[in-house]
Symmetry: C2
Subunit: 227 residues, 2 copies
């Protein structure tokens, strides 16, 4: 068996493009295509074809000249590479609006993420079920995470409670934290922290919007720039 050598370290940029490819490939596969070329994929996203080729290299898949890559093979290898082939159990802390939405987000299943329970200290929430998932008091998290071998924690509490929620999780043996709170978090080196911050994305959007508007104004009397 011949394996293609994979890059030893995969950049965050590449890692973030892989789900994009995956979504497209699944669509393409549903449409019945058997092969797909990097050129085609690149065109869809306005990427450089070489970049797509390099990205796909990390999956270990080998393409065929003039034909491209097997769609089914790519889908499988990307999922495998991202760890989306095996289900990961996760706990969610903070059953507010965002927490509720995450609990009800059915797509997570596709990405191997299985939220098994929610934790919140609001007595009005504790004991209820949200999308079929129990809401438990925070003091039960440590015990349960050890017993159920849950290694992923999702933080959807307000910023001011984020650090204490994370401390609790870390002490409970949680190995990876997906943080939705807009707060810088301190964690031990062996715990993985990934921030899913909506405000970062919003910042890019609103700044671009402002810039477009400012440019519009400048263009209105753009002679100034020629002085």
């Amino acid at each position: 068996m011949i394996f293609k050598k994979k890059p030893l370290v995969v950049s965050r940029s590449t890692l973030k493009r892989l789900p994009l490819y995956l979504h497209l490939l699944e669509k393409v596969m549903a449409e019945g295509a058997e092969y797909v070329s990097c050129t085609q994929i690149a065109k869809e996203f306005d990427f450089d074809p070489t970049q797509v080729r390099k990205d796909l290299e990390v999956t270990g898949e080998v393409g065929t000249a003039r034909i491209g890559f097997r769609v089914a093979g790519l889908v499988d290898s990307i999922k495998e590479f991202l760890g989306w082939n095996n289900a990961h159990d996760a706990f969610l802390v903070g059953a507010g609006n965002l927490g509720k939405a995450l609990l009800g987000y059915r797509d997570f299943e596709k990405y191997g993420l299985n939220i098994v329970a929610a934790f919140d200290n609001d007595p009005r929430k504790v004991g209820t079920r949200i999308f079929g998932k129990e809401v438990l008091p925070l003091n039960r998290l440590a015990n349960l995470s050890k017993r159920m071998h849950v290694h992923i924690g999702i933080v959807s509490v307000p910023a001011e409670h984020a650090q204490s929620a994370v401390d609790l999780m870390v002490n409970a043996g949680i190995k990876a934290i997906w943080n939705f709170a807009p707060a810088p978090l301190r964690i031990p080196a062996d715990v993985i922290l990934e921030n899913a911050r909506l405000t970062q994305s919003l910042a890019v959007l609103t700044n671009n919007l402002k810039r477009n508007r400012d440019q519009g104004e400048n263009n209105a009397n753009s002679d100034v720039s020629k002085i």
Copy 2:
């Protein structure tokens, strides 16, 4: 009046760090600090102090040697730079779980984002109110966005409906789109598209988790690597 010259083009990386600084600065300001140095900020995020200094340069704020920057000034200038000082009205399309959460996310107000109405074609949703916001049928979007001068559209529909939702928005004169659907979207060059894709963030998390686990296994019989 002396202005500090600002960089002409601001990188996406810088743009994404600014909200992080802002959150921290607001906390620091609430705690009563009047000045803050780049060194302090950098320490909080494990960034390079020079990077922080370069990032802050885009705001036009000038610091004082040995003392740092005025916190209040920075907070104001970052907000101004990101366009968070003025409120932007937005329409949301797709009142599912994620859409609901976005409608209920009170923090958006702080970021100058004001969702004024939601649109959905589900007759069970149309006519209801979610967090006080009306849910209207999609065919009313074009008319209303023009009349109300709404320029931002938020897409929280399933992937397969994302493109048609976007087409509708673009035709209605929407100038910026914040997309939460995991689908590649086609838009005209003069419309701003910003993708807020949870799956990208999740991909980094689950891949890291898998890699950590694989490494653990390797370490268990790491003699192999010494052969």
